[in-house]
């Protein structure tokens, strides 16, 4: 049944795209996501899939073309990173407000400046309020699995929203790791054919997509879009449950690692979770009650579920691989603390900024952070609530 292989994150996603065989892929290259359209066009050239590949002149165009194709009735996708996502900004919002269930494979890279090509989450986090579903992966396996679940989530009748499948640039996208692949037929049966109810190229049933909306309609449309995003939460869990049946791999809104009796929890997104889990295993051997929560679904944001998962610990380190320049912390820090407050969970919550623009994040960093949380709780030491990890001072 399943096949063991070794692949980079980009290879894994390209392989999943080949298996899903969507209808249209407009794309423009940008490091570190370039390999994805490159590999897909190789599959097409070799006759292994029949997706219509459109080489466009910019990411503004790739997202526009993906929206156009989706509105016409095709299952579409594109891939990008960093500045490419930034250039798509206007269209990202349109994809969501026009309720187009297209997919984007984002390979997270920092936004300029200073100009840099390495990993952090500033691109994805910059698009956090565009109305897209955002799912982040820890490794190549998760990037592959998440892409296979993408269309069943996005195309669900209660959702109809675009979906971003994110993986960490270079750390995940270019590192080769073991992976378990599903058979082509299993993936095709799981994802199914795209059969939209309404689409532009539908003779005799005319529609208009994205018409001008006067003030008396726009607010209601936005509320409906917000409801669809809320609906996505249950759909993501339903799809994960079905996916477990074909793969044996379990997914939720987030993963809880050794948190059951944990006094101190580190909450983070993406590849750094592997480092944090290693450090937690080391510290557990020394009798420290520590654990990790790895957030998988950032949009819709599972505020209530996270508050529930954190309510019994004494302190949480909220890790942001992104600076949001609000003077008060990173995006994850802001949203988690707001979620804790609204759910009346009053624990020590320290916001750390780490790994910007590819800066290493090590097990030693994790030891230090847990030690600091413990010092705050046990000795009452005052901890800076918003601070940088590994900053030269």
């Amino acid at each position: 049944m399943a096949r063991k292989d070794r692949m980079s994150g980009n290879e894994a996603v390209a392989f999943a795209i080949r298996q899903v065989n969507p209808d249209v892929m407009p794309a423009f290259p940008i490091t570190p996501s370039t390999e994805i359209p490159q590999m897909v066009s190789t599959y097409i050239a070799n006759g292994e899939m029949d997706t219509e590949f459109i080489p466009v002149e910019s990411e503004h165009s790739s997202m526009s073309a993906a929206i156009g194709a989706e509105a016409a009735g095709a299952r579409s996708l594109t891939a990008t990173s960093s500045a490419g996502l930034a250039l798509m900004w206007e269209e990202l919002l349109l994809a969501a407000s026009n309720r187009m269930p297209l997919a984007l494979t984002l390979v997270n890279r920092t936004l300029s400046g200073p100009i840099n090509i390495n990993c952090d989450h500033s691109d994805g986090m910059g698009a956090r309020d565009t109305g897209w579903i955002q799912i982040y992966a820890e490794n190549n396996q998760e990037a592959y699995d998440n892409f296979i679940q993408a269309y069943p989530i996005a195309e669900h009748e209660g959702v109809h929203l675009p979906i971003m499948i994110c993986q960490d640039g270079f750390i995940t996208s270019h590192a080769v790791e073991n992976i378990e692949l599903l058979e082509d037929e299993t993936v095709k049966a799981f994802v199914g054919e795209y059969e939209p109810e309404e689409y532009l190229l539908n003779p005799g049933k005319p529609i208009a997509v994205g018409p001008y909306s006067v003030t008396n309609y726009a607010m209601e449309a936005k509320k409906n879009q917000e409801i669809a995003l809320e609906n996505a939460k249950d759909v993501i869990l339903e799809v994960a449950e079905k996916f477990e049946k074909i793969s044996g791999r379990k997914y939720g809104l987030f993963e809880e690692y050794r948190t059951e009796d944990a006094d101190y929890i580190m909450l983070l997104i993406g590849s750094a979770a592997g480092t944090a889990k290693q450090a937690v295993d080391d510290l557990r051997k020394k009798g420290k009650k520590v654990g990790v929560i790895k957030l998988r679904v950032f949009r819709p944001f599972p505020a209530k579920e996270l508050a529930e998962a954190l309510k019994n610990c004494k302190a949480v380190a909220i890790m942001d691989r992104c600076e949001s320049y609000n003077g008060n912390g990173g995006p994850l820090g802001s949203e988690v603390t707001a979620g804790l407050f609204r759910n009346k969970v009053m624990i020590e919550a320290v916001n750390y900024i780490y790994g910007l623009a590819g800066r290493d994040f090590t097990v030693e960093d994790v030891y230090d952070i847990f030690a600091e949380l413990e010092d705050a709780i046990v000795n009452g030491k005052e901890v800076e609530q918003y601070q940088y990890v590994g900053l030269r001072k």
């Binding site: 309404e198 005319p206 529609i207 208009a208 997509v209 994205g210 006067v214 509320k223």
Partner: protein, 100 residues
């Protein structure tokens, strides 16, 4: 998902609007009376008109109806009063007046 969009109006609750405000009908722009925006109005003087039809194709809002090779009076429900027709008319058959 397909609903009769003609039943939707500015009092319709959000639950009954179409997804993404999609329109399930063709040619619906004629229901949108853009003529309400007009601040200047073209007046058609049929006695001066030679039916050369230079005016009809330049109208951005298709508000000069042409039937059997002859233009009729303006469609004031959609004419925004831009005045292009008046500029293009060689015979002074279209006069712009202030107001609606």
């Amino acid at each position: 998902m397909r609903t009769d969009v003609h039943k939707i109006n500015e009092q319709t609750p959000h639950q009954e609007l179409t997804e993404g405000l999609m329109m399930f009908a063709g040619g619906t722009s004629k229901y949108f009376c853009t003529g309400e925006w007009r601040t200047n109005t073209p007046i058609f003087h049929a006695d001066l008109c030679k039916q050369c039809l230079l005016c009809a194709p330049v109208c951005p809002d298709v508000s000069i109806p042409v039937k059997d090779g002859k233009r009729a009076d303006f469609d004031y429900d959609h004419c925004k009063g831009c005045g292009i027709c008046a500029k293009v008319c060689p015979f002074g058959a279209i006069e712009m007046k202030e107001g609606r």
